[in-house]
Symmetry: C2
C-alpha cells in the first residue's frame, strides 16, 4: 500500500530486517529527508561521515549502502531512478530559515517534522543526525562551494531500499523553498515486507 | 605552553568562551581529528551537516565557523596556514581498518583515541560525531569520488581557532596510514586564554 506524506510534513515507522522501502517523488522536484535508527538500540543511527567514508563518494545512489555510527550497514540502495541525492547538508530547521534566509517568522522544517514524528519512539531532537536527503540536488564546485539546485527528479521517480537491520525510519516532504524549486509537494512511500 | 599529543594518541581538555586554540602540525603531513561539545550541555556538539550548510562549502578554513547540531557557532577559524581540512569523513575506527583496509588485527584509531579521552567528561563512544579533520587532504572529483591524499601541511603549519562557547575539545594525532602519508607523527596544541 502506498502511503502519502502531505507537503511540509513527515512520517515515522518501523521496518524489519529484509523489508524493502520505496520512496517516491510523485510529482517531481520534491526532496525527502530520511533518518534511520537501529530499532533494537536507538543509540545506533545513520552516519553521513561513515557512509561517505565506506562508499568513498559524495554521491550516494544505487549500489551503495547507508552506514551507521557503529560501522554497520543499515540499508542497501537497490534502485534509484533519479540518481541524485544529498548527504552533505543538515535537515532544514527553524534556524536555517532564520540564519540563511533571514526569515524571523515561524516556518515548517524537516527538523521539526523529524523530531515530532520520532518522539513516539523516544527519540529527542538532539539525537537526530544529518539526514540522507533523497532527490536533493546539491552541486559542488571544484573549490568546494555548495549550491542547492532544483531537484532533477521527475514525477514517479523513486528510490528502493532494503533494511539490513530492524529500523526506525523517519521521512519528510521537505519544507525548504530553495530545495524544492519553490513548490511544496507530497512524498509517497511503500513498505514491501521481506516475505512478500 | 605548547602541549604535545604523541603519535597515534589523543587529548581532551576544556576551553572557556573566548579562549583561543592553536593546533600545530609540527613535522608536517599529520592529520588531527577534532570533536567539540558544549561544556555546559554535552548534548550539543559539533555537526558537519550544519557547518557545511551554513558555510555553503565543503572546504572549511579561515573565516568560517564550526557549528553545532543546535545551529550555534562553536568555534571561529581565525587563521589556517595550510588551508586544507576535511569535514566529510568519519574518524578512523577499528572497523575502518577491518572493512576498508582488510586488516583484522588491532590497530590504533582516532575513534578509540576520541572516546577513551572523552570518557572523563562522561561522553560515550556513541556520542562522538563526525570530526573536523585538520590538515586532512580529501580530494573530491566532479563525479563525487573521494580520495585520501597525503596532507599538504608543512612543518609548523597551524590552525588558530576561537571558542564561541564553553567547550570540551578532543584532538587526536591520526592513526590511519593513508591519511598521514604512511608516517605517524605527533600533533601539538596551545591554549591562549581569553584575557591574555
Amino acid at each position: 500500500m502506498i502511503e502519502t506524506i502531505a507537503r511540509q510534513t513527515g512520517a515515522a515507522f518501523q521496518l524489519k530486517k529484509g523489508d524493502r522501502l520505496r520512496v517516491i517523488d510523485p510529482q517531481g522536484e520534491q526532496v525527502s529527508d530520511m533518518v534511520l535508527f537501529n530499532a533494537d538500540d536507538k543509540r545506533e543511527k545513520l552516519s553521513s561521515g561513515k557512509t561517505l567514508d565506506f562508499e568513498e563518494t559524495i554521491l550516494i545512489t544505487q549500489g551503495h549502502h547507508l552506514w551507521s555510527n557503529r560501522s554497520h550497514k543499515m540499508m542497501a540502495i537497490l534502485e534509484d531512478t533519479n540518481g541524485r541525492n544529498d548527504f552533505l547538508l543538515a535537515p532544514c530547521s527553524p534556524e536555517t530559515f532564520q540564519i540563511m534566509y533571514k526569515n524571523p517568522e515561524y516556518h515548517p522544517s524537516c527538523f521539526e517534522n523529524l523530531h515530532t514524528n520520532l518522539a513516539q519512539f523516544g527519540i529527542a531532537p538532539d539525537d537526530i543526525p544529518t539526514a540522507f536527503n533523497l532527490f536533493m540536488n546539491v552541486q559542488f564546485a571544484p573549490d568546494g562551494k555548495l549550491s542547492v539546485e532544483p531537484p532533477l527528479s521527475k514525477a514517479g521517480d523513486y528510490v528502493l531500499l532494503e533494511a539490513k537491520m530492524n529500523l526506525i525510519v523517519c521521512l519528510t516532504a521537505c519544507s525548504a523553498e530553495q530545495s524544492n524549486n519553490y513548490s511544496f509537494k507530497p512524498i509517497q512511500y511503500e513498505i514491501i515486507p521481506a516475505n512478500s
